[in-house]
Symmetry: C2
Subunit: 337 residues, 2 copies
């Protein structure tokens, strides 16, 4: 197993990326190819005493795609950008997977242009795991495409189900369509057109519309929606969790000595819960629908998140997710003929 | 001030609705017209010892619109439904406002058909207040219309700004467009077409795109979006808050005696915070864009929520929100000619 890591993408790149990748090499026993500014990467590895680690290689690149650049233009013009070169390593069979915490648009575009879409897939889709009351719900698309067509949502459902089954071990994942009501007549045009397609698709276990509140409750294993909606919901959740945490902290701080003592006493049980809800535990979201394993990490990823994201890449490859997606799509195509 | 209350709408109707309304009559000194099953309403009022209260009247109706009915069909066919009759009381000048916690679709449709839209408004919009870190953000549309056109979002922005200013006392409310990135080129087709219209509108203080995470942070006073997206986000927040609360409670319960003691100690400061975050404190969301004050309450509204929603109706009427919306739209029309 060999994972290409875009060492220059992310708010804390290259330091946290390199450190997280080095950690993952040990934990998962995989090889890592760090793609980016060789000098900077070497300096960090030396600090970590990993400069002679045979599991870690470096591929030097001279360009970086910034967050505010137009993804397609940047990927086309910056041939030596870290994310472009890292993706190419997968295309050339040098690596089994690529990971980036940089511009999501750039990573998605590089994957589409270099790895190409799987036959039968019109749009790749980002599948983000959301911790719920009892487990994890996969939300897709969470930002690869906006203005999705109904058939894109159906493909998301098929790929998300396969991923949920192979990687999370869910048998017959319950698939929901994100909508504003339970009834099949509810929703905007997109949702109304998508509903019957999901209902009639034999490859998935469609269990109806999912309202916003059903996601955290964990009533569905896979929830499909347009990339615009998915992205808004995810970022909202992120902001809400942060603000709530801060508000509780402030309230306790201003609540006097007893409140502060009380907070200390509840820290141990809450720590375990916090760990389960911590998104960096999940590390990264796979981009499904391209010919290769591409893991997208949050821009604010720390060491732990990067390490765990490499774990996600490992699971993806080990479980043959790609093969299973291609096989299922081929079967659907035969059935349609 | 006289408020028509749909006594039969909501999960806890008519009991909690009647009790909440009776409470509001005292607290706000307004008159209440309870619309619904007279016998049932009377029984509740008697239990509350308010059967002879001159501030409270009853208008008997024989029909109810259920949550799963098609709104337009139901409003047209059930002429004696509580929400229809209550809305008609506003149309006829009998009441200053109408409040319903029943089917949102039915309340919106009744308002459109009976009260009609304000001149210049293509679609009415629900403005839901969301508690944020430091105050309140108004999210609209939160479910009146799906598949909104850019001009609908602009009208939402204009009406939301007026409401924020008049009712929440915000000077020059900061208006944001809910989107998946900060840059003006980001988003789906709807967002990209809406951005320049908001930027160039002289009646509002447009401050750019709002990402999902910016809502809880409180960086905007008014955030506009499609009703599909708004509804999903609101219900998601509701579900997330509930599940988080339950998870924390479970963790503490299973954390042993010390954790339980700790929880007791932090209750006082958290109670104050909980009150600020409690949606029933806000009670109801106004439907903006029709010729009358229409307040939509959550289906699960309790006594407190209904009482506070009547407070919202009071503020709406006292502050002449309708007049100001009409005036602003008339001015915009003149400017365009």
């Amino acid at each position: 197993m060999k994972i290409a890591v875009d060492a220059m993408g992310g708010d804390f790149a290259p330091e946290k990326i390199v450190k997280g990748a080095a950690k993952a090499a040990r934990r998962f026993g995989c090889e890592i190819v760090l793609v980016g500014d060789e000098e900077k990467i070497k300096r960090i590895l030396t600090k970590e005493n990993r400069q002679n680690d045979k599991q870690i290689q470096i591929v030097n690149t001279t360009q970086i795609i910034q967050m505010n650049e137009h993804p397609a233009e940047a990927v086309r013009s910056k041939k030596d950008a870290s994310v472009v070169v890292a993706t190419r390593l997968v295309k050339e069979g040098e690596c089994d997977a690529v990971l980036s915490a940089g511009s999501t648009g750039a990573a998605v575009t590089a994957a589409q242009l270099i790895l190409r879409r799987i036959k039968g897939i019109a749009r790749p889709t980002i599948a983000t795991p959301i911790p719920t009351r009892e487990g994890v719900t996969l939300l897709l698309d969470s930002g690869a495409n906006v203005d999705s067509k109904p058939e894109h949502l159906v493909q998301s459902a098929v790929m998300g189900s396969i991923y949920s089954e192979l990687v999370f071990g869910v048998r017959k994942p319950r698939v929901g369509l994100l909508n504003i009501g339970e009834e099949d007549t509810k929703g905007n045009e997109q949702a109304q057109l998508t509903y019957p397609l999901l209902r009639d698709n034999p490859s998935i276990n469609f269990t109806g519309n999912a309202e916003g509140r059903d996601i955290p409750k964990g009533d569905f294993d896979v929830v499909v929606c347009d990339g615009f909606v998915g992205n808004v919901v995810l970022k909202f959740a992120e902001g809400l969790a942060k603000v709530l945490f801060r508000m509780v902290k402030d309230a306790i701080k201003n609540g006097g000595l007893l409140a502060r003592l009380g907070a200390l006493l509840i820290v141990p049980p809450l720590r375990k819960l916090g760990k389960r809800l911590d998104v960096s535990e999940y590390g990264g979201a796979p981009l499904l629908g391209v010919n290769g394993c591409v893991i997208i990490s949050h821009g604010s990823s720390n060491e732990k998140a990067i390490c765990n994201a490499i774990g996600v890449a490992n699971e993806f490859v080990k479980n043959n997710v790609l093969q299973r997606i291609s096989d299922t799509l081929a079967k659907e195509e035969v059935a349609e003929q």
